[in-house]
């Protein structure tokens, strides 16, 4: 399928880092996604929500090219999945960070080694590895606990290690698949705040969750998926003040507050 046809099929956004155009994904006799179209702009924070089994993870799998659309096109960072050779997938993955509900840390390695591992695999220089690992572990507040094993950390801390690992290669996109699923509400909010901070740094974040309480607090774009179809795609700007929430982790932020942080996000969207 050439670019002209893609343009005919759906709006091609020149700011898009991710584009889904009439995508269908079928697993044997079961259709996971039906006619899904949306684009995600560079630096955007997108929340994907819907009940379990609605197709949220399938969307993320398609972006990671862990699955391939049975119909339609998926374009990630300018690369069309159906035309992409399997050899090129690792290159793409280096531009994407992954965070999962179950953390997926290496249990027999320390916090530092877990993060270093991601750099070793892609062949970063030794001197840079040390600097990068220190940077991300400081950002997630775990530099002091770098010698601990994952089992010596709380759930929230383990998720922060996973986020540090996802961010150490400076990805352009961060895919977070139910990252708060195993966490209590307070810790969950801390993780969401951390993802906001990452997004403020310019990384596009796709946050998948079925938790309504978390979704309610978002002042961002929310796509609701149900039975493999997009039910709604709403930009809810300024519903919640992101900065206020960052300072008040117990959900005391007032809805409707407009501030500079939100504006800078808006500026980023239109950049």
């Amino acid at each position: 399928m050439n670019t002209a046809k893609i343009n005919e099929r759906g709006p091609l956004d020149d700011r898009a880092v991710i584009g889904f155009y009439h995508v269908e994904l079928a697993y044997q006799d079961q259709t996971a996604l039906k006619d899904v179209s949306f684009t995600v702009a560079n630096g955007e924070f997108l929340c994907l929500t819907g009940p379990s089994g609605a197709g949220k993870s399938s969307v993320l799998r398609l972006i990671a090219m862990d699955a391939f659309a049975t119909r339609g096109q998926v374009i990630v960072r300018g690369m069309l999945s159906t035309k992409m050779s399997r050899r090129k997938i690792p290159q793409l993955r280096r531009e994407i960070g992954f965070v999962f509900q179950d953390f997926r840390l290496l249990d027999d390695r320390s916090v530092e080694d877990n993060v270093t591992f991601a750099q070793l695999v892609v062949g970063v220089k030794n001197s840079e590895i040390k600097r990068n690992v220190m940077r991300v572990l400081t950002q997630v507040g775990l530099w002091d606990k770098r010698h601990r094993l994952p089992r010596q950390l709380s759930g929230g801390e383990q998720q922060r290690v996973a986020i540090a690992r996802a961010m150490v290669n400076s990805p352009k996109i961060l895919l977070a698949d139910e990252p708060t699923g195993n966490l209590d509400p307070v810790t969950a909010q801390e993780i969401v705040d951390l993802l906001f901070r990452i997004n403020d740094g310019g990384t596009c974040v796709l946050f998948s969750t079925h938790d309504h309480e978390i979704v309610k607090t978002f002042g961002e774009r929310v796509i609701v998926i149900r039975d493999g179809r997009i039910e709604s795609d709403i930009e809810r700007r300024n519903v919640v003040d992101r900065s206020a929430r960052l300072t008040d982790k117990m959900y005391r932020a007032e809805a409707g507050t407009k501030n500079d942080k939100t504006l800078s996000k808006k500026e980023l969207w239109h950049a």
């Binding site: 993870s57 993320l60 799998r61 990671a64 862990d66 699955a67 050899r87 690792p90 290159q91 793409l92 993955r93 280096r94 992954f98 999962f100 997926r104 290496l106 249990d107 591992f117 991601a118 070793l120 695999v121 892609v122 062949g123 970063v124 220089k125 030794n126 590895i129 690992r165 290669n169 698949d177």
Partner: protein
């Protein structure tokens, strides 16, 4: 192109598998080493049988018995004619008297029985030694056909029976060795492939994370291939060690048995390394193709 940090990581990971799974790896090397020992013994037997066959071929000769009524000049005229035949290297004359002496020596204490005879019943003969290239059944048969029609010749005999049998059994043994060798080969690949599968299962999370952060399949594969190769190498050394030990113990009772040359030992161990790598490759190929990372 791999960076220094990646090479260091891969080397570390290749040996880390041994440390993490000492028992599994040890058992694998033991099983594989035993299977390869069978292969080594078969190979050694085939090599030795080949040597025996070569020696037997080297001893192929012909005995041309002459008619009784030939006078000495007729007998002497045959020698140059026999020497002209292609493939014949040397022709020695054995007179009837010399043949009787030989026979007497063979009979030993029972030689007295020959004294009862009125005359020497043994004919004069020529012993034909053959050139290297002619020491095979086809050449011998051709010479026999040619000389057999000469009126001066009564009979031609050669040690055909046992050479024939030896050649036949050698071929059978080689076929059997090949079949058993193939079975051992696939068994060894299966054993090592399963061990690597266990290793892969134990390293599933590591592989998953590697794929998620953008490691290529070949990068992921390298430590497992190295592990398979090291296992193959150790199993090969073990097999050779066991065969050598058995040779030491049985040595005095197995005179004439030739052991592998250093080059052959090197070749066998290299073969085992390839075997280990094949086993790992088989296990990895399926895993890396089918597995989803998310």
């Amino acid at each position: 192109m791999l960076r220094g940090t990646q090479v260091a990581y891969l080397v570390r990971e290749s040996f880390a598998g041994f440390k993490r799974r000492k028992l599994t790896t040890g058992v694998t090397i033991l099983i594989m080493g035993s299977a390869l020992m069978v292969l080594a013994v078969l190979t050694l037997a085939t090599l030795n049988l080949g040597n025996v066959l070569e020696t037997a071929r080297a001893s192929i000769d012909l005995r041309v018995f002459l008619q009784d009524d030939l006078d000495p000049s007729q007998q002497a005229a045959l020698q140059p004619r026999l020497l002209e035949i292609p493939g014949v290297e040397r022709v020695s004359y054995i007179s009837a008297d010399m043949a009787l002496q030989e026979f007497r020596a063979v009979l030993g204490e029972d030689a007295e029985i020959l004294d009862l005879l009125d005359s020497n019943p043994l004919p004069a003969s020529f012993h034909l030694a053959l050139e290297d290239g002619a020491r095979n059944l086809d050449s011998v048969r051709a010479i026999r056909t040619e000389v057999g029609v000469w009126p001066e010749v009564a009979e031609i005999i050669f040690n055909q029976g046992w050479v024939d049998a030896l050649e036949r059994w050698t071929v059978r043994f080689q076929v059997a060795s090949l079949v058993v060798g193939l079975i051992v080969f696939f068994a060894a690949v299966f054993v090592i492939s399963n061990t690597v599968k266990l290793t892969i299962a134990a390293s599933a999370r590591v592989i998953q994370v590697q794929k998620l952060v953008g490691a290529t399949n070949s990068f992921i594969r390298i430590p497992f291939l190295c592990e398979g190769m090291i296992q193959g190498f150790l199993a090969g050394v073990l097999a050779m060690g066991l065969v050598a030990a058995a040779g030491k113990i049985l040595g005095p009772r197995m005179t004439g048995v030739v052991f592998f040359s250093p080059l052959q030992i090197g070749g066998f161990v290299l073969f085992c390394v390839v075997l280990g790598m094949t086993g790992s490759w088989t296990a990895m190929r399926k895993y890396l193709t089918l597995r989803s990372e998310m």
